[in-house]
């Protein structure tokens, strides 16, 4: 009797589970294809893929503040938003391209545009009136170039992520310095003087932290400071293994192994807290978001943060960022372009930057209250003319994944800087010639 009851219950539960699954699956509606509707030139449904505006705050900004403004101007356009993360953006774009379901407007990073433009995924915005000349007045040249491929514009910048030097002035003053370093010699001397070790040799404070950001971005900042470039002018070959590149990598390797300014493992890109905030570093190469992190964790330190470009043969400052692109296959190109231009326009771009604590790409936003109230963002904008970006060749996403292991191999002394960069250059060249 009890076996029969159990059996009956099991059967009923199985049927219920199967039914529930079927009903749930059937209840989901399918996404209709975008179609151009009547009622005006700019109309239709456009899909937006974005790694920014995430979370409740970001969504509220986009859907409750920005898109209503857009709809006021373009009432016949409907925007569907697909939120993703930067970490998985590449997978999202790759599967979209492979399946042919490419979002009408896509946000992507600096260095990403080239590959997708070469594969014919992105619309040539120059053909649609967004030319390099039309952007030059609004952005610095290097930022405009970040959205270009083969002489044409494929992307419009919205926000920038910058890396430069930041010093804790309270710690510098304690050691007798009243300003950040202005050359590599000064940087080395101050880094050594500001480093503190315990009696048993344990590192307590690094004079110059180079480990709390991605090794690739750290190397690129130093490479630009050494006057080097990632690739040759015509993008036909790597240039990061030039004398400048080797000098840059040798400098950081020596900081660790000769000057003992920082120990491997002392910090990492995934560290809970930036060592500048915890007082475990006196100077560092860091991201502009340090300001917002400090605001949250230790606002009393904000006055002590002093940004500086890492001055070598050239000013060393690196920028990445987020750009808006448009799909070549968009069924509603006018609506897609309208959305792209709207998101990159001053008001929405400023709001997006403010929400993430990033650097606006538009030069005119230098005078905004947000920029004036964020010392690191303001510094970044004031020095954008001397900032350089990563990317260049269409194979950049493939090449960039190889830079971190190469830099780490040199830092761990598994290879000399020259060997590490030459091997990396060979890998990059193979990818570029493919």
């Amino acid at each position: 009797m009890s076996t029969r009851t159990t059996r009956g219950k099991t059967a009923a539960m199985s049927i219920a589970a199967a039914l529930a699954l079927t009903l749930t699956a059937c209840a989901s509606d399918s996404q209709g294809a975008t179609t151009t509707t009547g009622g005006g030139e700019v109309s239709g449904e456009v899909a937006l893929l974005t790694p920014i505006y995430e979370g409740t705050e970001g969504q509220r900004l986009l859907e409750d503040e920005l898109l209503p403004q857009f709809y006021e101007k373009y009432p016949d356009v409907k925007v569907t938003v697909d939120y993703t993360t930067y970490n998985k953006l590449n997978e999202k774009l790759t599967t979209s391209v492979a399946s042919g379901l490419i979002p009408d407007v896509m946000m992507m990073g600096v260095g990403w545009v080239e590959g997708f433009a070469e594969r014919g995924v992105l619309a040539d915005l120059s053909e649609r009136g967004i030319t390099p000349e039309s952007l030059e007045g609004d952005y610095s040249d290097e930022i405009v170039r970040a959205g270009m491929w083969d002489g044409d514009v494929y992307a419009v910048p919205i926000m920038l992520d910058t890396r430069f030097g930041v010093a804790r002035m309270d710690l510098l003053r304690e050691a007798g310095y009243d300003a950040p370093p202005t050359s590599w010699d000064e940087l080395l001397e101050m880094s050594e003087a500001l480093t503190i070790r315990a009696a048993d040799g344990t590192l307590e404070r690094t004079g110059f932290d180079i480990l709390s950001l991605d090794p690739r971005q750290m190397f690129e900042t130093m490479l630009f400071s050494a006057g080097g470039d990632l690739f040759t002018e015509d993008l036909s070959a790597p240039a990061f293994n030039s004398e400048a590149g080797v000098d840059a990598l040798q400098f950081v390797v020596d900081l660790v192994h000769e000057s003992k300014v920082e120990d491997i493992g002392f910090s990492s890109a995934n560290a809970d807290v930036n060592p500048l905030i915890s007082g475990r570093a006196a100077m560092a190469i860091t991201h502009n978001s340090l300001w917002t992190q400090t605001e949250e964790a230790a606002p009393e330190l904000l006055d002590q943060l002093e940004p500086f470009v890492i001055q070598g043969e050239a000013p060393g400052m690196f920028f990445g960022g987020t750009l808006a692109t448009m799909a070549k296959s968009s069924k509603n190109p006018a609506a897609a372009q309208a959305l792209l231009e709207f998101l990159a326009s001053p008001g929405p771009a400023l709001a997006a930057n403010e929400q993430r604590g990033n650097v606006p790409a538009l030069t005119e936003l230098l005078d905004s209250d947000y920029v004036k109230g964020n010392r690191l963002v303001q510094f970044a904008m004031e020095n954008l003319d001397s900032a350089k970006r990563e990317g260049g060749p269409s194979q950049w996403l493939e090449i960039r994944a190889e830079i971190k292991p190469a830099v780490e191999a040199a830092l761990l002394r598994q290879k000399t800087p020259q060997e590490a960069l030459d091997d990396l250059a060979a890998t990059a060249k193979t990818a570029m010639d493919r």
Binding site: A25, S28, E54, K92, D161, E296
Partner: protein, 314 residues
């Protein structure tokens, strides 16, 4: 001679007279020592396992200012319970939680049903090509998940007669942006089939023969005779499937574009921006996200451990 001295003298005499007792005592002492060492080692192992979990909970109760301190504090100076409510407000977690639960339960039910049948067939029903099919399943275990993502995505997108697709799978979006895409592809795995097969293989053939003599058919032998004997396998596969499904992040992100179909892991990613992480919120959200798994493990612990021991899984 006092009583104590007499007892001591007798004990010494006993010891001298009875070497067996002495050996037994020695063995007892040795066994106590080895048990103490074993317990110590297991205790250290258990502590090592639980410390990250405790650290997560403690971190979820600290303020950003406290998290910035070095050396880090062990115990929160100020218990910030509000981190939990604030974290829950950062994304529609109730929705994500429901979706994760539906998908995980769906995957678990499907896997238990289908994988146990497949495992039974491979273990107990002789048919031509059985070994080849089994080896194919074993080979599937070697394929990294990442390499399967794009082909799997294309299968889902070109699913005929769904999402506006025609018979050839053209013209629409197939299963994309639907519960089908979230549930069906994860509904069966080669590893689950493999585990079930190993369990069914370990059961005696005599049971099957007796059942056949009693007139039971194949399905009833599977459902009423053998499957009730492999509860540890059911618990193990069920828990592993639920856990994998609960922690899945990439697939739900890829096959959906609508926020109302997103899962809890996608919600947690909100706290990890490119250059900064809100650790206090991330740890609060993660603590909440682990609760279903912890509860499930507590309820199925006995079978789960048995299953692992039996299958030799580490």
């Amino acid at each position: 001679m006092t009583a104590t001295t007499a007892r001591a003298a007798m004990t010494a005499a006993d010891r001298a007279a009875n070497p067996r007792t002495r050996r037994a005592r020695m063995r007892k002492k040795k066994s106590w020592q080895s048990r103490a060492i074993l317990n110590l080692l297991l205790g250290i192992g258990a502590l090592t396992m639980i410390v990250p979990f405790l650290w997560m909970v403690v971190t979820s109760l600290k303020s950003p200012a406290e998290l910035a301190q070095f050396p880090p504090t062990l115990w929160p100076q100020e218990w910030r319970w509000s981190n939990y409510s604030e974290a829950l407000r950062a994304a529609p977690f109730h929705l994500y939680f429901r979706n994760s639960l539906l998908i995980s339960v769906g995957h678990t039910v499907m896997t238990l049903t289908l994988a146990s049948m497949a495992g039974y067939a491979l273990a107990r029903i002789p048919f031509k090509g059985r070994e080849l099919i089994f080896m194919s399943f074993v080979a599937m275990l070697m394929i990294p998940t990442y390499t399967k993502i794009v082909p799997q995505f294309l299968i889902v997108k070109f699913m005929p007669l769904f999402g506006g697709n025609d018979l050839l799978g053209q013209g629409g979006i197939g299963w994309l942006n639907s519960w089908w895409a979230l549930i069906i592809p994860g509904g069966l795995s080669a590893s689950a089939i493999f585990l079930f097969r190993q369990f069914y293989l370990s059961l005696p053939k005599e049971l099957e023969e007796a059942a056949r003599l009693d007139g039971l058919g194949e399905f009833r032998i599977f459902a009423q005779i053998y499957t009730p004997l492999i509860k540890p396998a059911v618990a193990t596969v069920g828990l592993l499937t639920f856990q994998e499904s609960w922690n899945n992040f990439l697939w739900p992100l890829l096959v959906t574009t609508r926020d109302d179909l997103r899962v809890i892991q996608v919600g947690l990613a909100v706290f990890q921006q490119l250059e900064s992480t809100s650790w206090h919120y991330l740890m609060a959200g993660t603590t909440l996200a682990t609760i279903p798994m912890v509860l499930l493990f507590l309820f199925c612990q006995r079978y789960f451990v048995e299953g692992f021991t039996h299958a030799g899984i580490k």
